[in-house]
């Protein structure tokens, strides 16, 4: 135990300038989010783009609920991966186990926090749920199982799983020694203890898997059992929620793993096999999700029920088409990116272009401009507004096309590097995940009214964007800070 060991592993306890700058940026974003939320507390939800369904032609649920669903979805991956690693004894994946667990906990905290701003009476929300919550309401499950039970289970798992490392770290003198000792709670890494931990963790993992399916299904049921909302009322809702949860969570896990591989320089421990394995699983889930999407679209359009068709048209060709196709495009592109490393090297993966650098720069600019334009064109007016001029919709589509070219231009790299492919795939499927969450929550309200109120519209306001950005920053902050106080990977045997 020499100098090397004196330092805590994986950058724990080392705070450079860059780190503080990063924290500062995150804190300011969180602060901005809190400011935005304070505006909402003072003024009421009128500062959001949400409005009543019906005569107001609005959506009662929007960005907050969409991101709540997204965060809950992300949380899926972590604990599932940890459980799978445990149950299937996937030893080579052990290094990402804790990353995944932490992702679950952070995502669940964010999920809880993103429901709060959606409530008109947040204080009552906490108290009255404890006092009065009714089992009959699908929210009961979300509230008890997802937010409380699931979070608690993850914390327990995380705590137990970290005891060994805590015990190891407690031996090294550092300001955090006391904290590690507390965590370790007497753990000494004896074979008996190890055995006991394995047994406990095994049963815990087994208990968590059904809870997790139930919890995500419950969230699906929040939407799926509403017979009065075309687009929601579907048996597929719950399974699709589970699958999409996996897609977004594993995607994010891939990105996080790649970040640590780069930042911590742990190319050895976070080896390519991990990315190949996760990438493969992600590709599989994406395929299943695409299958669900096709099945659902077929069912709704085939039966031809007027309201379902109206809603589907709004998705495919109407005001939400840009979001729908961007999401689907991201999903498919992500899938292709993930599969590229498997293409035999004899097949040249090359997209004809003038010069990659130029194409990429142009593509990046186009993608950004395209997205802004789409939001600008479609955002404020999801329904036709009075006195609208001619719409340069094709401009938006051309820009979206350029964005595709941008992604395509990276394909040769993806074919070479499974990590790059994993990052690209992970990011793309998360873009798709956010898009799909919005598409589940919003259109059924604005375009799915069964009485002929006419199409409604919903455009998030700066308050909603700010609160969501603040939540993301908060999550990143929690994650980053934790990484600085506890090793994000299991401490290797030799250490």
């Amino acid at each position: 135990m020499s100098v090397q060991v004196q330092r805590l592993p994986y950058g724990v306890g080392r705070f450079q300038v860059g780190f503080w700058l990063f924290i500062l940026v995150l804190l300011s974003v969180v602060g901005w989010g809190i400011y935005a939320y304070s505006r909402q507390l003072v003024e009421g939800l009128v500062v959001t783009g949400l409005r009543d369904i019906g005569t107001m032609g609005g959506a009662a649920w929007g960005l907050y609920i969409a991101f709540d669903v997204y965060f809950v979805g992300v949380s899926f991956a972590g604990i599932t991966m940890a459980a799978l690693i445990r149950l299937l004894r996937l030893e080579e994946l052990r290094p990402v186990s804790r990353m995944a667990e932490l992702l679950t906990i952070v995502a669940l905290v964010l999920a809880a926090f993103s429901v709060l701003p959606d409530l008109g009476q947040p204080v009552r929300g906490i108290v009255n749920l404890l006092r009065y919550a009714r089992p009959q309401s699908p929210f009961f499950g979300t509230f008890t199982l997802v937010i409380s039970g699931y979070l608690f289970a993850s914390l327990v798992y995380f705590y137990l799983d970290g005891r060994r490392d805590a015990a190891l770290l407690a031996r090294i003198p550092s300001p955090l020694q006391g904290f590690y000792r507390l965590w370790a709670a007497g753990y000494r890494d004896t074979p008996a203890e190890r055995e006991r931990h394995h047994r406990a963790a095994f049963w815990l993992a087994i208990a968590i898997v059904p809870l997790l399916v139930t919890a995500h299904s419950t969230l699906g049921f929040v939407f799926g059992i509403q017979s009065g909302r075309p687009g929601w009322f579907s048996t597929l809702q719950a399974p699709a929620f589970v699958v999409m949860a996996g897609v977004s969570g594993i995607g994010l896990l891939l990105v996080i793993a790649a970040v640590f591989r780069h930042v911590l320089g742990e190319r050895e421990r976070l080896h390519e096999a991990i990315f190949r394995w996760l990438g493969g699983l992600l590709a599989l889930l994406v395929l299943v999700y695409l299958y669900f999407t096709v099945a659902e679209l077929l069912t709704t359009t085939y039966t031809g029920h007027e309201t379902e068709v109206r809603l589907t048209l709004a998705l495919l060709t109407g005001p939400y088409a840009w979001l729908f196709w961007v999401s689907m495009g991201a999903l498919v592109l992500g899938l292709v990116a993930l599969l590229l490393p498997y293409v035999p090297s004899v097949v040249p993966v090359r997209v004809p272009s003038f010069r990659p650098a130029f194409t990429r720069a142009a593509g990046l600019a186009a993608a950004g401009a395209g997205l802004l334009l789409m939001i600008h064109r479609h955002g404020p007016r999801l329904a036709p507004a009075a006195g609208a001029g001619p719409e340069p919709e094709w401009v938006g589509w051309v820009l979206a096309g350029l964005a595709v070219v941008f992604v395509l231009s990276w394909f040769p790299l993806f074919a070479r590097s499974v990590v790059a492919a994993g990052v690209a795939g992970g990011l793309l499927v998360n873009v798709a995940a956010v898009g799909k969450r919005l598409l589940i929550v919003v259109p059924s309200q604005t375009h799915g009214t069964l009485l002929p109120y006419g199409p409604g519209s919903y455009t998030p306001t700066w308050v909603e964007y700010s609160v969501v950005a603040g939540l993301f920053a908060l999550g990143t902050l929690l994650y980053t800070l934790f990484v600085k106080v506890f090793p994000i990977m299991e401490v290797a045997e030799e250490q």
Partner: protein, 245 residues
């Protein structure tokens, strides 16, 4: 226990929207909240067109999706059939609103006292209104109702809670008709006890063929329509009210 229901005679409805205004004044609902809304529909093509009107209060369903999904029991069904909203308990999650297929729920997006159309805080106005907002504030709405003694009457009570048509619980408990029914200039609205064969609702239902809105969803509405037909995809809404907060 009476079994209250409303019957809307579409053969009589003139689409004047007086019921909407009577409701707004009686229940002090804030800007852009229409507990009662009247659709005006146009169907067909020139010159074979048809125009008709359909009032839409809360349906006070016997199988109310809103009450089922309410996480805290703020939305509940009373023994007499009224679906009530306890604004003292509502947490403002708007689940009732997304669950309701009829679009009858209205959330208080703003502090209600700042959402009554005009600035009533002016000195000259306060002198006559004793600072009441809105100036026509109905004192009956402050009382608790029902054997359960819950505060369910009126609108614009609190920021961040959901409100909707109460069938004018404050009037019904006094033996009066809901404000929209009492005011209908065309006598197109009926309200009463289905258990009582002499009530106007029973009489009208006995005389004319009736239907209910979105009956196929199994919500079992307590609002019956006689005359005309349910709106269908060809029913284009005209002169719609595009009020937003």
């Amino acid at each position: 226990m009476p079994r209250y229901a409303m019957v809307v005679d579409l053969d009589r409805c003139m689409g004047c929207r007086a019921c909407m205004e009577a409701c707004k004044v009686e229940n002090n609902t804030p800007t852009a909240a229409f507990w009662m809304y009247v659709f005006r529909f146009e169907e067909g093509e020139y010159p074979n067109t048809y125009i008709w009107f359909m009032p839409r209060p809360c349906m006070h369903c016997d199988n109310p999706p809103c009450a089922k999904v309410c996480p805290v029991g703020a939305r509940y069904k009373r023994e007499d059939g009224l679906v009530a909203t306890d604004w003292d308990r509502c947490i403002g999650c708007r689940y009732c609103e997304v669950a309701c297929p009829y679009g009858v729920n209205y959330f208080n997006w703003k502090e209600p006292v700042r959402n009554y159309y005009l600035d009533w805080g002016e000195r000259d106005v306060r002198r006559v209104t004793n600072g009441q907002t809105p100036p026509y504030r109905n004192p009956d709405l402050d009382r608790p109702y029902g054997e359960e003694k819950r505060r369910v009457a009126g609108g614009g009570r609190l920021k961040g809670v959901v409100e909707k048509c109460t069938f004018c619980v404050q009037r019904v408990e006094e033996g009066l008709q809901p404000a929209c029914v009492a005011n209908c200039p065309a006598f197109a609205l009926h309200f009463g006890d289905l258990e009582d064969p002499q009530s106007s609702v029973s009489q009208v239902l006995g005389r004319k063929h009736s239907w209910r809105l979105l009956e196929e969803l199994g919500t079992e509405p307590r609002v019956y329509y006689v005359g005309a037909h349910p709106a269908h995809p060809e029913s284009r809404q005209i002169e719609e009210v595009k009020a937003r907060v």
